[in-house]
Structures are given as structure tokens and as C-alpha cells.
């Protein structure tokens, strides 16, 4: 019971109470405490503590445990670093946005946790929609034209997408008509147990609507624009939250649907849809990577790419599925590191354009080095974790005999690597067309001190290497338990 209070009650209460307070430092301190308690509770749940399920409303299977840990971990790091970005903001300090920042992040934590642990499809839908509502005001943090447009597009696209997912839920009800599962309601446990009796045509229709609707929020092609705009125009902590944790929450719905279809003839069709979604994301990323001139957008597109790979892995099944689970974990860590460092760059250079950032390794030594390392992690260099999870997904492709698909994926990944490294190395070493005197006027020489963002990024990168070389047994067991629940 106390675990539920720590996971749901505390964030909700804090978020609500914060509307009365105004002192940012107190809010920061309390938010860190809430995040730490949430992380501790998530770890306890992960290690198998007993949690009440409130008459089947909540569900704590292996899938929930893993996703809850990912969310809690991301939120904890984001909270610790948020203060740096709020107080040394790259644009004039937007007072109004700062006031609601911690209120909204706490409410976001509540809504997101609820979405992950719910056992009822309707409850999941409501909670998922609430996460959009909590995040939207935070995207508009800088209060400029771009962030306003990004907020509108995100809010509108995702709301329409989630409305489509609701149509999918209604179709699922239609497919249950006439079976005894219909009386028991839309509980995941009920749906998964009885799915073989459902009407397959409506189940297929339901899968299409839910997958397409939720993919606006997962951020995979062709429904990615809202997500990319939102991630690239919000402040770094929020960008990290959206791209490292919110995508996973939306993916949870697709995974539940996959679990429901896994014993039925619709399963093959749902796998094909996942593979198509994954490949489309890779193609879109290749095309746009070469045209980008904004480094935050570059990271946002890299997020499209990696969630595409995850979805591809899910579609392949078998070892590819296990690889996809690990990929999701590693991707969430890497995206945090990248966005924290991108935030530091934005703060110092006051620009998101790639051609305004140069000789990063010389001017911002710590940020430069860590950004370079995070970049190496995200393009799947060994010994970073992503390398191993991608290898597993490739293995899955090979085991299925999908040689053409494998070569296409490798081809796309190569070109994404080329495009990204071209941009990143321009930022690391390149020089500028503006002459030296002008630089000295506009940008005073930076004297970067080591601060908490560097330390946490370094820790995250170390964890990423350690997890790549040595997978903790508890994690491995949970992932294999998940794979078992999908009949692999």
C-alpha cells in the first residue's frame, strides 16, 4: 500500500500543493525528494515487492516493472539537473513558465506512472492523454514563436492521435461481443486470457487504429512531426523527459495490444505493421538527417530512428524482441545524456543552429567531451549498450532469414551515422566564417566549470558502458520474463 502512495499519491499531492507555493528552491528540493522516493519505490516493485492491485485496476507484471523503472530513472536524473537549466536559461528567464515547471513535472510523473501500472485499457487511455496535457505547457517554456508553434502542433496532433486510439479501443469492444470476456470489461488480464475467442476482423481494425494513433506519441514515422517539433523546441530537461520516457509509455499500449494478439491469427499482421513502422522511421531519419541545421532537431530525429529500431525489433520477435527491450533501456539513458549536453551547448552559444556552434572541444571542454561520448553511444559504438542491443536485433533478423531487411537496415544506419557525425564533428572542431573580432564581441570566452549536469551525464554514460558489458541478472530475468509473456 505504501508503495502505491509513493508511486501515485506523493507526486499528485506535491503537484497540487505546488500551485500554492512560489519559492522555486523549495519546489526543487521537494521534487528531488519525490523523485528519489519514486525511484526507490520503483526499485522495490522491480525487485518483486508485493503491491495491491485494487480489484484488478493495477497490474504489476514484468513489463510494468521494467517500464516503471525506466520512467523513474529518467525522471530522477531530469529532476536533479533541472535547476541548472531553469536558473541559467539560454533566453531571458521566463518567470511564468518557471512558476509552473515543477507543478507540471510532478503531475506528469503521476499521470505517466498511472498509465504504466494500469490494468484497464480505459484507465491507460485517460492517463496517457493526461501526460500530453501536463507536457504541453512545459513545451511552451521559452514563450517564443517556435515553442508556441511546437506546443500547438504537439497538442493537436497527439490529441487527434489518441482520439484514434480510442476508436481502436471501441473496436476491441466490438471484437469481444458475444464472448464471455465482454461482461468482464476491458481489463488487460481479461483481454490477454480470452483473445483467441475474439472476432478477428475487429481485432485487426482495433490494432491498426491503436498503433497508428499511439505512434503520434511514440514518435515513429510517418506520425513523428509533432514529437520532433516538441522535443527540439522545449528546454533540455523536458526534451529528455519526452524522448526518454514518454515514448516508452505510449509504446506500452502497443505492447499490450501485441500481447493481446500474440495467440491469435492477427499476430502476423501486427508484426508486419511494426516492421513497416520501424523501416519508415529509419527512411525518414536518413532523409532528414542530411538536411538538418539544428542540433536539437538532430537528436530528436535520432530519437525517431531509435524508437523505429525498437519497433522493428518488436516486430521481428524472438531474440529481436529481447534486443528491442534492451534497446529501449539504453536509448532512454543515451537520450538523457545527449539532451543534457545539448542544453549546455544551447546555454553557452545561445543558438540551436549547427553552424553557430564551433570548436566545442576547445571552448567547452567538459561539455564537448561528454557530448562526443554520448554521440558515440547513440550511433552504437562498442562498448556502449546500444551496440549490443542492435546486435541482438540484427541477430533476430538473421534468425528469421530476413536478409534483405537486414541489409537495408544496415545501409540506413550507415548513412545516419555519416550524416550525424558530419554535423557533430563540425560542432566539435569546425571554425566559423565570422572573423575573430566579431566572435569576441558577441560571445565572450566561456570559462566552463564542472557542474552537476556534467557529473550526471558522466555517471549515465558509465552506467551505459557497464550495462553493455555486463547485464545485471535481475534485468536479464525481467526481460526474459517479458519475452515469455509474449510466448517467445
Amino acid at each position: 500500500m505504501y508503495l502505491i502512495l509513493a508511486l501515485l499519491g506523493l507526486p499528485l499531492l506535491t503537484g497540487a500543493v505546488f500551485f500554492v507555493f512560489d519559492n522555486l528552491k523549495i519546489k526543487y528540493a521537494f521534487s528531488i525528494i519525490v523523485a528519489a522516493i519514486h525511484l526507490a519505490a520503483a526499485c522495490l516493485v522491480f525487485s518483486g515487492s508485493n503491491v495491491p492491485d485494487f480489484e484488478q485496476w493495477l497490474r504489476f507484471d514484468a513489463l510494468t516493472k521494467l517500464f516503471l523503472l525506466i520512467l523513474s530513472n529518467v525522471y530522477f536524473w531530469v529532476m536533479i539537473n533541472s535547476y541548472q537549466y531553469l536558473f541559467f536559461s539560454p533566453v531571458a528567464k521566463p518567470e511564468k513558465s518557471r512558476k509552473i515547471f515543477y507543478n507540471m513535472t510532478n503531475l506528469y510523473l503521476f499521470a505517466n506512472t498511472l498509465a504504466l501500472i494500469s490494468n484497464h485499457l480505459g484507465l491507460y487511455w485517460v492517463a496517457l492523454e493526461s501526460t500530453t496535457l501536463c507536457v504541453a505547457p512545459l513545451i511552451y517554456y521559452y514563450r517564443d514563436k517556435e515553442s508556441l508553434e511546437a506546443m500547438w502542433k504537439y497538442l493537436f496532433l497527439v490529441s487527434v492521435g489518441i482520439a484514434f486510439a480510442f476508436i481502436g479501443i471501441l473496436f476491441l469492444t466490438l471484437s469481444m461481443h458475444g464472448t464471455d470476456a465482454f461482461e468482464k470489461g476491458l481489463y488487460f488480464s481479461n483481454l490477454i486470457a480470452n483473445s483467441t475467442k475474439f472476432n478477428m476482423i475487429w481485432l485487426k481494425a482495433s490494432y491498426i487504429f491503436i498503433f497508428v494513433g499511439l505512434s503520434t506519441k511514440i514518435g515513429i514515422a510517418p506520425m513523428h512531426p509533432g514529437e520532433v517539433d516538441a522535443v527540439s523546441n522545449s528546454p533540455s530537461p523536458i526534451a529528455a523527459l519526452i524522448s526518454a520516457s514518454l515514448g516508452g509509455t505510449a509504446l506500452m499500449g502497443v505492447l499490450r495490444m501485441l500481447q493481446i494478439t500474440s495467440k491469435t491469427p492477427v499476430y502476423q499482421f501486427s508484426q508486419i505493421m511494426l516492421i513497416v513502422g520501424g523501416m519508415a522511421s529509419l527512411i525518414v531519419t536518413v532523409v532528414f538527417m542530411f538536411r538538418l541545421n539544428n542540433y536539437k532537431r538532430m537528436i530528436a530525429y535520432s530519437s525517431v530512428e531509435h524508437l523505429g529500431i525498437v519497433v522493428l525489433g518488436l516486430g521481428i520477435g524472438g531474440i529481436g524482441f529481447i534486443g528491442a527491450m534492451f534497446h529501449l533501456i539504453y536509448n532512454s539513458l543515451t537520450k538523457m545524456a545527449l539532451f543534457f549536453m545539448a542544453g549546455n551547448i544551447h546555454r553557452n552559444y545561445k543558438s540551436r543552429e549547427i553552424h553557430n556552434v564551433f570548436s566545442l572541444l576547445k571552448d567547452l571542454r567538459w561539455t564537448g567531451i561528454l557530448f562526443l561520448l554520448a554521440f558515440l553511444a547513440v550511433v552504437a559504438m562498442p562498448p556502449f549498450g546500444i551496440f549490443f542491443s542492435e546486435l541482438m536485433i540484427f541477430q533476430g533478423l538473421l534468425a528469421n532469414g530476413q536478409y534483405v531487411l537486414l541489409s537495408a537496415v544496415l545501409f540506413f544506419l550507415l548513412f545516419i551515422f555519416i550524416a550525424m557525425s558530419r554535423n557533430v564533428f563540425k560542432m566539435m572542431y569546425g571554425s566559423t566564417k565570422i572573423n575573430e573580432a566579431e566572435i569576441n564581441q558577441t560571445n565572450k570566452p566561456f570559462d566552463e566549470k564542472l557542474n552537476i549536469t556534467h557529473l550526471s551525464t558522466a555517471v549515465i554514460l558509465c552506467v551505459l558502458i557497464a550495462m553493455g558489458l555486463f547485464i545485471p541478472p535481475a534485468l536479464y530475468n525481467t526481460v526474459s520474463e517479458i519475452a515469455k509473456s509474449f510466448n517467445f
Binding site: 484497464h120 480505459g122 484507465l123 487511455w125 485517460v126 492523454e129 493526461s130 500530453t132 496535457l133 504541453a136 505547457p137 511552451y140 514563436k145 517556435e146 508556441l148 508553434e149 511546437a150 506546443m151 500547438w152 502542433k153 497538442l155 493537436f156 490529441s159 487527434v160 482520439a163 480510442f166 476508436i167 479501443i169 471501441l170 473496436f171 469492444t173 466490438l174 461481443h177 458475444g178 470489461g185 476491458l186 472476432n199 476482423i201 475487429w202 517539433d229 527540439s232 523546441n233 532528414f288 538536411r291 538538418l292 532537431r297
Partner: protein, 211 residues
């Protein structure tokens, strides 16, 4: 009787396809809210109780009173929205598209009803509402009309929920209504900011972000 209400709902969609006034869009939305109220309350008449009345009354309150009042006050009056909706499709073509889509939906749902558990008329009414809502978003330019299009889709989904007899737990229905209200609330604020920073209020203003 329920079929009559559903047909009325479809007629309101045809009116949406012919009118060019923002005001009229809002009025149709109010009408749809009231129709939804009656559609929900109809089966409950035989067994009236306070508890069963909460949901229909909330629907009436949110969809026919609160949201329209909010949109009227916050956006149409404050921003002095011009009366004409701007469209990138000629009015007559829009009507044709609407009519043909509705005919197609009605025929196909009639066919579907033969071998699955759906009522042809409510299902078709719901699905045409969703499609017309999408058309409004695609072919109209004004942001406020987009919001109304989104609300029309939500109405369609609600109708679909009734037609497939999906019994969501009561609290979840209420929470979903609250979610929709907050979405509209945030969209209203966003439109207000957009028209003050971009000094136009249609979709053509939003082209800063691209690759």
C-alpha cells in the same frame, strides 16, 4: 426514437458542410451536445436514479454549455474572429465530399451489420461524424475551426461508444470528459497566444518549424 436522434446528428453534419460561419459551427456543436445528452438518457428513462443521471448531465454541462461558452468568450469575442471560416476547398466540393462519404459509410455499415454485432444506423452516424470532423481539420484553415473539428471527432467517438455498447466504468467516462475539457482549455490559450504573436489565426501562420 434513438435512430431519429442519430439521423438528426447526421443532418447537423450536413449543415456543417454547407455553412461558412464560425458562429454556426459553434451552434452546431451545442446542438450535437444536446443530441448526445438525449441519446445517452433515452435508455435510462425506464430506470431513473440519481447515479445514472450523473453522466448524461455532465455531458450536457461540458459539451453543450462549458466548452461552447469558453470558446465563445475566450476566442470568438476576445479575438474578434472574422465570421468567415477560410477554406482551401470550394464549398460545393466540400458538400459533395461530405455527402459521398456519408453514403459510403452508411452502405458499408449496413453490410457490416449483417455479420457482426453492430446497429447499422448508430454506427454509421458515429463513423460519418468522425470522418466529417477529420475533413473539417484537413480542409479548413482557421485554428478555432480545427478545435471544433477535433470536438466533432470526439462527439463521433462518444456516439460510437454508445453504438457498440461499450460499457466503460463510470469514473473513466468522467475522466475522459475532463481530459477533453482541459485539451480544449489549453488549445484556447494557445490560439490566444498565437493570434497575438503571429497576428493571424489560421494555419498558414504556423510554418516556422520545418527541416
Amino acid at each position: 426514437m434513438e435512430n431519429v436522434l442519430n439521423i438528426l446528428f447526421c443532418l447537423s453534419l450536413l449543415y456543417l458542410a454547407t455553412t461558412t460561419r464560425v458562429d454556426a459551427y459553434l451552434k452546431v456543436f451545442v446542438l450535437q451536445g444536446i443530441l448526445l445528452f438525449f441519446i445517452v438518457i433515452m435508455p435510462l428513462i425506464n430506470r431513473p436514479s440519481v447515479f445514472t443521471l450523473i453522466l448524461p448531465v455532465t455531458i450536457l454541462l461540458v459539451k453543450a454549455i462549458m466548452i461552447p461558452l469558453y470558446i465563445r468568450k475566450k476566442i470568438i469575442i476576445e479575438l474578434e474572429v472574422k465570421r468567415n471560416i477560410e477554406s482551401n476547398l470550394q464549398q460545393f466540393n466540400f458538400l459533395l465530399l461530405t455527402v459521398f462519404s456519408m453514403i459510403a459509410v452508411f452502405i458499408s455499415s449496413n453490410m457490416l451489420a449483417k455479420y457482426t454485432y453492430i446497429d447499422a444506423i448508430p454506427f454509421a452516424a458515429a463513423f460519418s461524424t468522425i470522418i466529417i470532423g477529420l475533413y473539417i481539420i484537413i480542409f479548413r484553415k482557421k485554428l478555432i475551426v480545427h478545435v471544433i473539428g477535433f470536438l466533432v471527432i470526439e462527439n463521433g467517438i462518444f456516439l460510437l461508444g454508445i453504438s457498440v455498447a461499450s460499457e466503460m466504468p463510470f469514473l473513466i467516462e468522467l475522466a475522459a470528459l475532463l481530459d477533453i475539457f482541459v485539451v480544449v482549455f489549453l488549445m484556447g490559450i494557445a490560439i490566444n497566444k498565437i493570434s497575438s504573436t503571429f497576428s493571424v489565426d489560421d494555419i498558414t501562420a504556423l510554418d516556422e518549424l520545418k527541416d
